[in-house]
Symmetry: C2
Subunit: 318 residues, 2 copies
């Protein structure tokens, strides 16, 4: 039986990947330090004999022993916070660059040659090419998060060249859906659950963003890995549409049945490094036959309802 390793297995995308592969009868080793991930997301998975969970800090703990007999690593563990990168600069360096390096070395030690990596559309900085292709003009980084992810992409690519690894690097838009616990829908629902008369919004609300449903995301990852077979596969993941923050507020408010007064703070960008327009060209992934099942509007509605049904998530410190 194939055995895979998932880092960040208790996180949003990680835990969904665990459940997906358990249904496919694949044996899984899952690592997570539970700092932003939550064991509750693995409730069902932990009952399975196929899943072995280890609470491990990828930065500080010895991890390489877990890489024995692994056929592929899905490296999802990350500091996934764009907004607060400047408050604790070391987090992006440690969690996104150094941890990726440690994973690559552990793979090398145990002759594991295949890696999936969760990168981000943020690596394109504020590109002029919209929709943005995988081979867009050489970008200038605008956030530490983006910079740390492009670092990790570079290291992975160099290991592919140098040590004959094969990689699947996905540049995601924001992901929504079950297990979602971080981002603007989270912030807005949380605020409105506390007080549905007022909503504070970072930026002027005209930021145009693209989102993808978690189920579509997981399917795209799986389909890509079976379809593409280059040494280094770099693939944008997103839908063929975008939404303004104002439009997404409308959907959230309709779902929550409230009409708050809205206060916008700041200008075009909600924070330093915020990108006023994220819209990825997804022609490459569509070559695999994949297409998303959910529109952005549906995903926002699903996510809002999910948060209402799982209010423990809203209470977490993030």
């Amino acid at each position: 039986m194939k055995k895979i390793l998932i880092t960040g297995c208790a996180g949003f995308i990680g835990s969904n990947l665990v459940n997906f592969f358990l249904k496919k009868n694949i044996e899984i080793v899952g690592l997570d330090n539970l700092s932003t991930g939550n064991i509750k997301f693995l409730k069902k998975a932990l009952k399975s004999q196929q899943f072995k969970f280890y609470k491990k800090d990828l930065l500080n703990n010895e991890i390489s022993s877990h890489f024995k007999n692994i056929s592929m690593v899905y490296h999802l563990a990350a500091n996934a916070d764009v907004r607060f990168g400047l408050k604790h600069t070391k987090k992006d360096i440690n969690q996104n660059i150094i941890v990726t390096y440690k994973i690559l070395e552990a793979m090398r030690k145990h002759n594991v040659k295949k890696i999936m990596f969760s990168s981000t559309g943020s690596v394109y900085g504020e590109t002029n090419q919209i929709p943005t292709k995988e081979n867009a003009p050489f970008p200038v980084q605008t956030s530490l998060y983006g910079a740390s992810k492009i670092s990790a992409e570079g290291l992975i690519s160099a290991y592919c060249e140098g040590f004959n690894f094969q990689s699947y690097i996905f540049r995601f838009v924001s992901i929504l859906g079950k297990g979602y616990s971080h981002g603007h829908v989270f912030d807005f629902v949380k605020q409105l659950r506390n007080n549905n008369k007022k909503l504070y919004v970072l930026g002027d609300g005209n930021q145009r963003k693209s989102y993808l449903n978690i189920d579509d995301c997981i399917n795209a990852i799986h389909k890509s890995i079976n379809y593409f077979n280059d040494k280094i596969n770099i693939i944008n993941l997103g839908t063929n549409e975008y939404l303004t923050v104002k439009e997404s507020i409308k959907i959230i408010c309709n779902t929550l049945r409230c009409e708050p007064k809205i206060f916008f703070k700041g200008g075009k960008r909600g924070w330093i490094g915020d990108n006023p327009m994220i819209f990825l060209d997804t022609k490459k992934i569509r070559k695999s036959g994949w297409k998303p099942k959910f529109t952005i509007k549906e995903s926002i509605k699903i996510t809002t309802k999910y948060l209402l049904d799982n209010q423990w998530i809203l209470k977490r410190k993030v």
Copy 2:
């Protein structure tokens, strides 16, 4: 009086920068751990009152106190070895990524906002765009060295956005001239001084490479910083020509007056991550009025003679 800080001040480019700025009456703090740099390169500079040298390991020593009252940092310290990156993967991570991060944090602590950074044409990987512009298509990294430099570029750019730094990032071709102590001219001269009947060459000799003379390089750096004034300035540095490895062997052999038998090892690439064709588009730097004084052929001749006159360099472990 303006005071600048130069890291890697005892290295090839660093020591030439020190001498250049001393002539301009600028006060200099120089840091170097003397691992690949050599104190002999600073012989003249050390006699100057304007120059303060500190033997410091940028990775392990506390360095931030040196950043007090500095107007600009010239960050030249690096592991500059493309070829052996895979033998000691941690070197590129530590020396090129982590050290750059430490420099940026030290600058932030002491409110130093301006940084010059020595990047490399290697960040373009094996691009299809030749000559290669600064905004070439998003490259895929082929060496750990290139990956570590693109990481550092990304961190510097993110600090410019986040903390209002200003940066001058230079993507160099190989540099030749006085103080040169590393690279193919070095290898060939060293081999031929030991035995001028035989020469072993990595690759098929048809690799086309571009080179720049150190004096032209230093002038270009200085001119750019006075001419360009964006928040993030990314600038290719090179000449408008290239040479095959075979052609450069001919010049070296003519200068040394020998006719060795030549043995080529390997194929198109001399080693993993070697780029068979490096030729940068230099229209941007030429906007500043700069142009090189030396042709590649002249530079190779000058460098060969320099190594003959300074044979202690050939004896160094590199």
